[in-house]
């Protein structure tokens, strides 16, 4: 599938995750966030860079990880990305969705 954001054609998975992390930039993040009904604040950006850092270091993302991130606590995480915070935050950060084996 592909998605058009800010005039750029992006390859995304069926549920809207970028397949190529290198295509990610801040404008794209803002547009994806809008689709999720989220307006990005400074705190959001802080969380997004923390998530990208974890993925770069091959650390699996989890709610437990958020607890120890030093960036925010779990309640704040839910407040910033209501609904499925890990699912939404990873989509906006342009990193793969946390998944199981099937």
């Amino acid at each position: 599938m592909d998605l058009n954001i800010a005039g750029i054609r992006l390859d995304v998975t069926e549920d809207g995750y970028l397949t190529d992390v290198s295509q990610w930039n801040k404008e794209i993040a803002i547009e994806i966030a809008k689709k999720e009904g989220i307006e990005l604040t400074d705190k959001h950006w802080e969380v997004i860079s923390w998530i990208q850092e974890q993925v770069k270091n091959e650390v699996a993302l989890s709610i437990r990880g958020i607890k120890k991130s030093g960036v925010l606590n779990i309640k704040e995480f839910y407040a910033l990305f209501p609904g499925g915070p890990l699912k939404k935050a990873t989509k906006i950060a342009g990193v793969p969705k946390p998944k199981s084996c099937i």
Binding site: I74, K99, C101
Partner: protein, 415 residues
Amino acid sequence: MKNLLILGAGTSGTMMANHLVKKLPKKEWKITIVDQYKTHYYQPGFLFLPFDIYSSKQVKKKGSKFIPKGVDYINDKIELIVPEENKVQLENGENINYDILIVATGTKIAPEEIEGMSGPEWYKSIFDFYTYEGAKALRNKLREWEGGKLVVHITEMPIKCPVAPLEFAFLADSYFRNKGMRDKVDITFVTPLGGAFTKPKATKALHYLLEEKGIKEVTDFNIERVDYENNKIIDYADTEVEYDLLVTVPTNMGDEVIERSGMGDDLNFVPTHKGTLQTLDHENIFAIGDATNLPASKAGSVAHFEAEILTENILRYIKGEKLKDEFDGHANCFIETGNGKALLIDFNYTHEPVEGTFPFPGVGPLKLLKESRTNHMGKMAFKWVYWNMLIKGVHIPFVSATMSEKGKKFDIKAN
């Protein structure tokens, strides 16, 4: 004389002892394996124990039966690993020095990580099935349970055998149907992930199973606590799911000895190179199976494939050669879907499970990502394979350590 020490005599440790005893020259190397427990469990059988498909006797044997002659087997608890001094302290005060250490201490459940889980209702209305004790207690509960809300729940990832909870839900559907009480049982599958299935091909091919079996799905549920007084689980978004019987997979963590020795991550898993299986912090320490932090499934098949590569790497390390950076995360798992049928999946770090045939391209006889009776027979036959081939380090014919792309229908890249 040099010492090779293996910590843990579970699936991985036992396999490594069997592989290495055949490869290391006896005059130069002494192999020792340590485990605190005397029983070796057939862990895939824990899925069947609650439903009276396997008896308790079928899932356990004496561990010493599987440790080959020529390997020193010590039954004691490991107190501490001291990598700086290349030694391991046992609870009895004895020290074992090593030249090469293999960490195979596995993973275990940690229900105490979630408030209210392992409290007064543990093994009364809240159960795990990842331990022998839990699976057996649950069997006794199911035998007399009169129905109500059954919640099958995953606390957080990663877990051992990530499909087991889903298999449990499928088997529960069959079990209650066969007992003529399916109408009295409401089954809900609760997961912290985006769905019971998380990969595109599997979701497409398999989501019908949930609908067909009337299993409800609650997704993105990150549990905060169990309110055992009011029979509900509550997540961080204050979503509540009520249960009469909660079958949960608690947080999975590496052994406490890893934490005591300062060798693990947040969950006590050992940071390990994903291609060579050498630990990241110590070049004479290797890790295998559930004890590692690899982004592969924590499963016996993964350990089996790892063992073939790790054996090769231990030999290379001894000779001072470059290690094989070859492990690709290969996993091969049967998934019970109930009613005497099963699926088979074959995948690795980069390729998601897809449809196709296995192990012979285009022939089978096993079909990937499709329900069949042959797959179920494969799963049942696997118990024999496990006791007689797998842990003894016998190569399983036609199944290579790295994943084969032949006979599979790839059309999109895994992500």
